[in-house]
Symmetry: C2
Subunit: 337 residues, 2 copies
């Protein structure tokens, strides 16, 4: 591969001049500039990013550490971050921890070693090992989606508690008095907040409820929802509505209900949480507590760039509102089956 030295030789100038032309820094006479550009063209020169990073002490690379890449919510999140940062000249390295704390910590180390300028992290659980790595390296991070008390960083998320409350309230308002709740994870702060919010609403209105929480972390979220729903539907009295704290789990739950011969929403209402695009196209379309996914990503990216440019000591917490998106999968209670 051609180096700056080859360019200099071909153009008959010094290394410094080539560098100045490439980076458009400092003054170079038009004649030399032309020669350099011609040489760059001729040799298909592409600057060596590692060398540049080494010298400049910045990589213009941002780490994005999420629990699961192959998941509509996190996929959309990563996507929106990518789009925002691309415009600003930053590239991202997406790492999927696969809901595993060890892997998460391992990836944090990888990002530190790559000397990313910053990182956006949606933590897998309550384990903070990964955060240590960034802290030691003084790499600024932004926490997204899942709050983590005690981490000195900017945070962007929705009010999960409120969303949980709001979702449960929707079902209660429809007349449901036996409600099943499916949590997607025992160790995620976001899930806990949603669950507590929902439980509060249920208690506030004296609604009979049953909670399903998975024993182990799993990547099979559809399957989780499926089995959780099967379990809940076997309870006595059977719930007339299910609130899954994740859209993906809700989809699994819907499938289970239909498998059991129940029609949605006539015999069972199902609602989710997240607001993934897919929800609108399901049959029936999924009622959900929607997060502003794109906005979460954009705000996080913006905040990160801010803390990269000027080392700030004040950390912001941005809380975005959830929105109840009512569609066809929930309906009024029609009486006992």
């Amino acid at each position: 591969m051609a180096t700056i030295k080859d360019i200099a030789q071909l153009a008959g100038v010094s290394l410094a001049t080539v560098s100045r032309v490439i980076n458009q820094t400092g003054n170079v006479s038009p004649a030399l500039r032309e020669q350099v550009l011609a040489a760059v063209e001729a040799l298909n020169y592409q600057p060596n990013a590692p060398a540049r990073s080494l010298r400049r002490r910045e990589t213009r690379l941002i780490g994005v550490l999420i629990p699961q890449l192959n998941h509509p919510f996190f996929g959309t999140l990563a996507y929106s971050i990518e789009r925002f940062l691309f415009e600003k000249g930053f590239r991202i390295m997406v790492c999927s921890a696969e809901e595993d704390a060890d892997r998460e910590s391992e990836y944090a180390q990888v990002l530190v070693r790559q000397r990313v300028d910053g990182a956006i992290v949606a933590p897998t659980g309550l384990d903070l090992a990964w955060a240590e790595h960034f802290a030691h390296a003084r790499i600024p991070i932004v926490l997204i989606d899942r709050d983590l008390p005690g981490v000195p960083a900017n945070r962007v998320m929705v009010d999960n508690w409120q969303g949980g409350y709001q979702g449960a309230l929707h079902l209660i308002a429809l007349g449901h008095r036996h409600i099943g709740v499916i949590s997607a994870s025992r160790h995620s702060q976001a899930m806990q907040d949603r669950l507590q919010g929902a439980l509060q609403a249920l208690r506030d209105h004296n609604v009979v409820h049953q909670v399903y929480e998975p024993d182990v972390e799993t990547l099979q979220q559809y399957d989780l929802g499926f089995h959780a729903a099967l379990h809940l539907l076997k309870q006595q009295p059977a719930p007339s509505a299910i609130f899954a704290l994740t859209d993906v789990a809700a989809i699994g739950a819907m499938h289970a209900a239909v498998r059991e011969g129940l029609s949605i929403p006539d015999q069972l209402s199902v609602m989710g949480f997240d607001g993934i695009e897919l929800g609108a196209y399901l049959i029936p379309a999924l009622t959900t507590v929607a997060q502003p996914i794109e906005q979460l990503g954009n705000v996080a990216a913006e905040l990160l760039l801010k803390s990269i440019s000027r080392a700030q000591t004040e950390y912001e917490l941005v809380v975005l509102p959830t929105q109840l998106t009512q569609r066809a999968s929930t309906g009024a209670w029609r009486g006992a089956r």
Copy 2:
């Protein structure tokens, strides 16, 4: 951040010795090794990857360039690649071209500048600009999912033509004589192959058919399927079955059918192509021509590592079989509506 120099100073040894300990290369006496490791621990030392890459002339970084990150098929693909390569000590940089040739080419340049050791590319269209960048830099690539004639590279894909034929045949065998086909893109070779395969089957059996092809590339694949189906259902005679060449488009199509008051599969059969996990949880569960997604990713990654280690001049083409996965969204023709 601590450097190797700091470690050397603290441990009272030379840079070379530290390097030898860290990389477990060459012999170092147990005593010194201990001192070095202690210093590494004390200073939270993390090797500087850019510096290392510069010197070693390898990054152990693999570029993954896909048309769309936020898409179940490509998400799963990226995920399986990531998992395979992580084991082997390689990290990936995921880039999403968003079905845009310019952006794709831009990202190829980015990867070249990062000096990735290799790249796995699922091309967006027929534009080969991106391939030039890798070729000039002599960076080995593996083409995945979408074939591209004339690119000197390893290729891993399914037999899309055969899959298209197979899918159409399934509908024909069910007795359908008016079939609509939805293509997801005009410019993707994979889509064209699927389409031609399907058309061949339809012609072979004298089946009336209608094809919908989008005019412009879009990222809204659900929406594409939705509108395509609405369009097809308006035709006279209306199709009794729809074959969407993408699962995501099939989901949109199912939604459109229900919106039009048709029940699936009684009044309209819908089938897709890809075999995304989600398909099994839809209501009704989606019949599809399934690709072995994980396997595609693994084989591609394996092939890439092979061509990185020993510069090969022979390029392989691996064709994996598709599998017709029959579920609930297709059924026998019940007579004219």
